[in-house]
Symmetry: C2
Subunit: 417 residues, 2 copies
Amino acid sequence: MEDMLGRGYAIDPGTALRLLIEKLPSKFLHEKIVKIEDSLGMICSQDIISEEDLPAFARSTVDGYAVKAEDSFGATETMPIYLNISEEVFMGTRPHFVPSRGEACKIPTGGMLPPGTDAVAMFEHVQLIDEKMIEVLRQVVPGENVIQSGEDVRKGETVIPRGRKMRPQDIGACAGIGVTEVRVYEKLLVSIISTGDEIVPAGSTPGMGQVRDINSYVLAAMISASGHIPFRKGILKDDYQSIRAVVERSLKDSDAVMVSGGTSVGTKDMIARIINDIGTPGVVFHGVSLKPGKPMIGGVVEGIPIFGLPGHPAAVSVCFEIFIQPVLALLSGLRERYPQYAARTVDARLSKNVSSSQGREEHIRVMLEEKDDSLWATPVLGKSGLISTLVKADGTFVIPVNINGLERGEIVEVRLF
Amino acid sequence: MEDMLGRGYAIDPGTALRLLIEKLPSKFLHEKIVKIEDSLGMICSQDIISEEDLPAFARSTVDGYAVKAEDSFGATETMPIYLNISEEVFMGTRPHFVPSRGEACKIPTGGMLPPGTDAVAMFEHVQLIDEKMIEVLRQVVPGENVIQSGEDVRKGETVIPRGRKMRPQDIGACAGIGVTEVRVYEKLLVSIISTGDEIVPAGSTPGMGQVRDINSYVLAAMISASGHIPFRKGILKDDYQSIRAVVERSLKDSDAVMVSGGTSVGTKDMIARIINDIGTPGVVFHGVSLKPGKPMIGGVVEGIPIFGLPGHPAAVSVCFEIFIQPVLALLSGLRERYPQYAARTVDARLSKNVSSSQGREEHIRVMLEEKDDSLWATPVLGKSGLISTLVKADGTFVIPVNINGLERGEIVEVRLF
């Protein structure tokens, strides 16, 4: 993992992530039962199977007259068919009458079809003659304007598969089949350890040479936004023993560990050493062909992923999206089909030329601006240590490893923050 | 607002939304103070202004040697310049020594530049001769590899503008300038009233002709997902007096009111009547050229928006996105620049021809599937009353008002759920 100068050997981000995921054992996840109204965004840990047909009875999908379809055959505007009006169907009640052949029953949308009827003629295709008779102006076929019993969900059918992140409609489907509680995986607890002799708490006034802790807040919020629980473990000096102690403790009480700061080459490979010293397999990658984010460390100890994150907020943000979010998604029990498309993106035109070094994947922060009927992306320049560039930016786009740069006017896909 | 048959006159969704927004007065929003770590996704109600320069001192952006840039002028690999090593800069401390001309001080990334130095030569461009001397192999210019005092944020600068929905980096920026609490707008309280003689609670066993309440769960989850607080007011029979009473009460205790069910034409225009009877301006639109969602009602009473939603879950979902989400965003104090691009979308090829009636905007539910290196969107067919089609679908795409349909192979933009 090191080149001749003892520096981390930079592999590409995709390979780094793959290597790390290979080292992660499949873990037992804790489960709990929650009310469906509290399950939004949680990962369902059971196949939810319907114990009944939905709907339980044939329902009308329109306002109209329930008929025996045969009775309407051949009806047209010029040659309407006359039917006698039978009793009316009311919402929420079972029609206890049995219409005779040649009879039609007024029925609202959602109403239960009376016995013997199998289709509904819409009001629009019916003319009322008097209180006792209608003209049907268009024939209906059996099943027309009707949802059959079991057409929505069949008894025994899996409505929500295990591993689904519960969406509003999934919660609605549970309600529809009478399931008011679901088993879900517990959220992941993610430890965040800030390191650096220069770091002081956000609430304090830094002395000269000191700066406030930014990264633990950025990381905690990104962890929350991804549906997990951040667990901030405080700020530590760059001291091997104290950092090691907190990392070891975090392996016991959390599902993933992030150490922010202390990952630059040179004086600062302490985090990698700690990860290797604590257990196996230890460091899986150290250094990736990524900008910002080059000094990123990924490791696994006792089946738990440990990430060493660069000190710059912009790098933290990119590394979280590329490495941490997919790993947490995997650990959380999520089995969604298209998580890779889950980012909110928008196409925009580059407002200026952007160069990039070949051999690394570069993430460029941009501001979006609407001008001349186009959406323009303007790179937010500034050194990578700045938080203000992240606040000004609306999102990022990626220049892939093998591209030297892009020209003004080219379309880029901006991943929104 | 009514055509000759007394039915709602269908205007296009964009116009309907605009008309409704015009009737909404700008309301006083309640504020509260929260810790920054609890502010994710909340709307900031104040301009957050920095009371200090960030950083407070010039910092190195690399590991290297702090120098007076002039001392390096002309240095090349073949003609290096020799500098004496002065004291070392340590993280988090103010260097109390003053290097002489011709001296260089070892400095870590983030370290404070010693007085008299104005640039940093990276380790990569320096050769160590012995403990007391380095060769500089490339000249540096003043400011090179340095973040100047105030370069990130200037004292007096607005870091977070009022109306910003707090993102992780915004929270980090607050931490960076020592702001640990922020004023935010209170979340909106949104009442949900389910109506329908056929509707029973999700936890009960419906009799014949009855169905369980699905929509209040779908709506509540969509309200939560949008950052607001749902307030479910129970299930009411289709009775003018009881619905009116709960709507009137909800105008007092919530910021918006949704009534689900009871909006079809014919026997069921009771909700529109109630909205008009309670106050002014009352119903703003009733019926839109939208599928699903045609019978949608939008109204305003006492400055509070009231929505009458169709009974079908698929229509509820579309109407929420088109009408309710933008109105709630507006009411919540959000002033984001690009909310209209906020959806997660993905391009996919249609796997079959889809027809559409001209004159209405049609929202088609699709499943996504990767096949032959392309992403394909397959319409999820099924009558609009079904919840299972919503659960099977990954998202929707829109056929605009003036298009008759789309052909297999055409690219559509799928808005993911």
